[in-house]
Subunit: 257 residues, 2 copies
């Protein structure tokens, strides 16, 4: 049974997409069979993994709105063992029309349970838009683990309050076992505010915070342009090491076969 990790945060620009792409690359390099799912109409994960939103046979909008099977829209990436369920700007329609279905919160959970999919992958990672709407809610219902990337900055730290109440809602409405973990991203060690806020988040969330911290590394910007996870773009750079540490930490949550 594939283990589902959702990467979400209402706050924009906190490295949700960068984290999904990097963790997928690191887990695939460790031999796991990985599926990356792009749920954002910006289609940044689709770009980050080298696919072009214009040249696809289908997207997640077809799966969630038109009943297409997830398997029918999958594309391979440059990385062995890593497949992508791509997105296009059509996903905007999903946000609007999905809530009209009575059982919409389970739309993703059901789509991931169809056919061979659950046995074909060890881990599935879902990238969400910066909006706590129907799509992100459905992704939180599909997940065993929710990772919340957070910059050590004021607005990001404040956003954690809304995320916690969203988690309480999801747990009471159908996914009681949802575990969350906060991930500090884009940290600049030299910045006083970053140090102070990281300490505050650590003090407030304790166990709820992942050990790994991801620091600022411009190679992550370059790897996005190259359409590759950072470990396939530059093995030596700091973020490749840090995202590999993160993948190891997350792999501990994945039940062994």
């Amino acid at each position: 049974m594939a283990y589902v990790i959702t990467i979400a945060n209402q706050k924009g620009g906190v490295a949700k997409t960068t984290t999904v792409a990097s963790v997928c690359g690191a887990l695939a390099a460790r031999g796991l069979r990985v599926l990356a799912v792009d749920l954002d109409s910006q289609a940044d994960l689709t770009l980050a993994l080298g696919a072009s939103p214009g040249g696809l046979h289908g997207s997640m909008a077809d799966v969630l709105l038109n009943g297409a099977s997830l398997e029918s829209i999958l594309v391979e990436t440059a990385v062995p063992k890593l497949h992508l369920a791509p997105s296009t700007s059509e996903m905007d329609k999903v946000e609007r029309f999905l809530p009209m279905r009575s059982d919409y919160v389970n739309a993703l959970r059901s789509a991931l349970a169809v056919g061979d999919l659950p046995r074909a992958y060890d881990v599935v990672l879902l990238d969400c838009p910066p909006f706590l709407g129907a799509v992100t809610t459905s992704a939180m219902h599909a997940a065993q683990l929710l990772v919340i990337p957070t910059q050590p900055e004021y607005f990001s730290a404040h956003a954690l309050r809304n995320m916690m109440s969203a988690i309480r809602n999801v747990r009471s409405q159908g996914n009681p076992d949802l575990v969350y973990r906060i991930l500090i991203t884009m940290q600049d060690r030299r910045n006083r505010i970053h140090r102070t806020l990281s300490e505050q988040i650590q003090a407030t969330f304790g166990e709820g915070l992942l050990q790994t911290v991801i620091e600022v590394d411009t190679k992550l910007r370059e790897s996005a342009i190259a359409g590759l996870p950072v470990n396939y773009y530059n093995v030596k750079t700091r973020s490749t090491q840090q995202y590999d540490n993160l993948a190891q930490e997350l792999a501990q949550y994945v039940p062994s076969k």
Copy 2:
């Protein structure tokens, strides 16, 4: 008649809120009567101007869903001549229920035209969530000028394509005179990708790009925590000067009284 500037971009974390707070501070310091409107359920603009989302008499959700007048929810800020229409997490409901009204795209334009409001302010600035939904669409219909903050990074540059098609839709559905201008934000001069992508955006958009470029400045992070626009927090810092230049550039669009 108040001149309405909407600050929007589907891409998250590109300094939409920071730009609204900073431009409001700079215009108020130049003697203009300014209204800042927070349309994001994260309520970051409300925080950035020193108000606390918990201690309010009302919010923009009351105006857009429950028919409250905008004047009834206004709060003063620490800055003379700068008032705030605050937000709370209730704005999530607006995104969901506003589209059920037949004429929802004009909801904000109408709310801003009520009572003394149009004569009470010279400029109104609208801060939008990182999502091209009903709220941002309504804000684009209410505006004479749309400013699109953009980081000189790959995903941000890509987001401009969706923004351009959103502008085309708004122009054909009710606001034909909408002018847009792109603003480069959070630029790091030392970073090669930032330099390259800024040049590409300049080459692609020419006149559509504002002259002023906002560079990285950690004083902007500090001023957000202090609940003050950066020019009221630290007069000498680089971003105070750059946002003042921007305010001057934008003031040229505001018809003189």
